[in-house]
């Protein structure tokens, strides 16, 4: 008898479980509006949090349709990998062109000429690489050369997984070439010393920021300009300072519509307008406010004071991403050589 009661209770429980599951499935499918998935890199969380409502408003005014936008953030290399593995991104907004190139090279998800489809190499905003130091700059860090000194502890992500980290690395590399009459041996030596000073190599830019700020590791954080100012805003200008070096790299984080996915989802119109609208005056204002360098001339002039002028090398001057990737970040590339030596 006792068992029967127990068994009945079990049946009741199973019924309840099934009902709840059913309800959840219904509520999930009830939202039939079109949704767009933007797969992005780490530090753009705040930017797209502000841009998405603006775009939803714009699209509603233009077409009367209410769309929903979903976000996914992570290290750029990891995110590109996920899209290759089937994460159905309608658009990608990643840290560097190389990662988007892989979507053509490995799976033909986008056309080969994707980077010429939108203005300015498909980069609606640019940025550069700067330093964040603790208040008062106790180690007197002014330029790249100071990062190679003994006793300076550097925080930067791993170039193998993070797009931002590759920009950091290439900025340091170009600086070393410039100051050593383009001697690659000297540049290797310089980079080797710099990475020997690295306290941790996180997988993404945001992880490095957390290491530097919340775990209080390191004397200097090498990071995106926008991420550097975010640190000041979030954690107090009374605790940190941004140091802009004499020389850095012009980082162009590009955007692209994933043709194969939008065709399948029927999202072509929203996806292309979502990226095109990033170049509008309204969006460029948000971009500047989030400390990305706007590409619109008027907005750039308006926020001129916010962005110090410094000499910037471009990735094209370094021979493009394919060459840079092969030479520096592929297995047994320069990074592996200097990092193994450092150990």
């Amino acid at each position: 008898m006792n068992t029967n009661i127990w068994f009945n209770q079990l049946r009741v429980l199973a019924h309840m479980a099934l009902t709840v599951m059913g309800l959840m499935l219904i509520t999930n499918t009830a939202l039939a509006e079109r949704t767009l998935l933007n797969v992005s890199y780490d530090p753009t969380r705040e930017l797209y949090k502000e841009y998405n409502p603006l775009f939803i408003q714009h699209w509603k005014a233009k077409t009367g349709e209410t769309v929903a936008i979903q976000q996914s953030h992570g290290g750029a290399g990891k995110q590109a990998r996920a899209v290759l593995d089937g994460l159905e991104a309608d658009v990608v907004t990643l840290a560097l062109a190389y990662d988007i190139d892989q979507l053509y090279n490995k799976a033909r998800l986008i056309p080969e000429n994707w980077q010429s489809l939108l203005p300015n190499n498909s980069s609606p905003y640019t940025s550069t690489i700067v330093f964040v130091v603790r208040k008062g700059n106790p180690k007197q860090i002014k330029d790249w050369i100071d990062l190679t000194k003994d006793g300076v502890s550097v925080v930067t992500p791993n170039p193998k997984t993070s797009g931002g980290a590759r920009w950091n690395y290439l900025a340091a590399w170009s600086y070393a070439l410039k100051h050593n009459n383009n001697s690659e041996a000297a540049a290797k030596d310089f980079i080797g010393k710099l990475y020997k000073n690295a306290a941790v190599l996180d997988t993404g830019a945001r992880g490095s920021t957390t290491s530097f700020v919340e775990r209080e590791i390191g004397d200097v954080l090498i990071t995106w300009e926008n991420e550097a100012y975010l640190v000041l805003n979030e954690f107090g200008a009374d605790k940190y300072e941004v140091v802009t070096p004499s020389f850095s790299i012009l980082a162009e984080p590009p955007v692209a519509v994933i043709d194969k996915v939008v065709k399948k989802n029927g999202n072509q119109d929203i996806a292309s307008d979502y990226l095109a609208y990033l170049y509008s005056k309204e969006a460029q204002e948000i971009i500047a406010k989030n400390h990305y360098r706007p590409t619109d001339k008027d907005i750039a002039a308006k926020y001129e004071k916010q962005f110090p002028n410094l000499e910037l090398v471009t990735i094209a001057q370094l021979g493009g991403w394919n060459d840079a990737q092969k030479k520096h970040f592929a297995d047994d590339g320069v990074f592996d050589q200097i990092y193994d030596q450092g150990k």
């Binding site: 969380r45 979903q70 089937g86 799976a107 957390t210």
Partner: protein, 284 residues
């Protein structure tokens, strides 16, 4: 003389049976210190941070749509995986303890596999199988079936990681019990199902509930395997543990720790239920 030796021996015996007080207090202090340092302190910190901006901030962090979606997904995952693994666990324990067959020890080892494999690998296995570049990727794409970076993938990964829990609890118990009672029932004419529900199930129910409880705790708390197959789409494929990480990286401390407080609460409920079950079991 002899009396003196007698008492000496007595105290020696007592000394052997009872450690000196400093050893006892020392051991207790170490054990308590460890618990406070590595259990109470972090748990307290979770709650402290969750409420650091007051009740209203805590509440609004929990009622935010992304948190709600993460909570729903976590519950759905547990609701699917726990019953499936319960059925599987009973079947596996039954097969292993009641029948003799070739490859039995292999099956026992295989059941333990998810325990010995890193959860990240468990996740990657599913990406390699069902991802767009994977073995079944093309077929799935052609038929518009989404597994990876969607709810089915998360459920599959959780299923894989949690499947030993129930079987692991039942196998030793059922081995110890033997099958005399069941044989008696069968020989008296009871059907197979009747024997199971009236003899076996009552005998194993506490161990079974215990296994289900552990399975549920892991299903709701799993991070590594789920992280690989999730795709981290906010409000869609983030489970509660993933949502905690995302909020933390958004510098949303209250949100992160509010999510963590739910997971910690779940852990405490599991612990209380577990002690209740153990008490019931020993009572029997």
């Amino acid at each position: 003389m002899s009396a003196v030796i007698q008492t000496k021996n007595n105290t020696k015996q007592q000394a052997a049976l009872h450690d000196p007080t400093w050893v006892r207090t020392g051991l207790i202090a170490i054990a308590l210190g460890f618990i406070v340092l590595f259990l109470c302190l972090p748990l307290g910190l979770v709650l402290f941070e969750a409420f650091s901006k007051g009740w209203t901030a805590y509440w609004s962090a929990l009622t935010q749509p992304d948190t709600q979606a993460a909570l729903k997904l976590t519950l759905l995952t547990a609701l699917v995986t726990v019953p499936l693994n319960t059925v599987f666990g009973i079947a596996a324990a039954w097969a292993i303890t009641r029948f003799e067959f070739k490859g039995k020890s292999l099956l026992t080892t295989l059941i333990d596999l998810p325990f010995s494999v890193s959860p990240v690998i468990s996740g990657v296995i599913f990406v390699l199988l069902f991802g767009a570049q994977g073995v079944f990727g093309e077929w799935l794409m052609a038929h518009d079936v989404k597994i990876i970076f969607a709810t089915p993938g998360i459920i599959l990964a959780t299923l894989f990681v949690t499947f030993p829990f129930v079987a692991r609890q039942l196998i030793p118990l059922m081995q110890e019990m033997g099958n005399e009672e069941e044989e008696a029932a069968l020989s008296l004419g009871a059907s197979g199902w009747k024997t199971f529900f009236q003899i076996t199930l009552p005998n194993i129910k506490w161990a079974l509930l215990y296994g289900v409880l552990l399975c549920n705790a892991r299903a709701m708390g799993e991070f590594g395997a789920v992280s690989v197959v999730s795709g981290h789409i906010r409000g869609m494929t983030n489970t509660l543990p993933l949502h905690v990480e995302v909020s933390y990286n958004d510098y949303d401390v209250v949100g992160a720790f509010a999510g963590a407080s739910i997971l910690a609460g779940l852990a405490i409920v599991t612990l209380v239920l577990k002690s209740l079950l153990e008490w019931k079991q020993s009572d029997r």
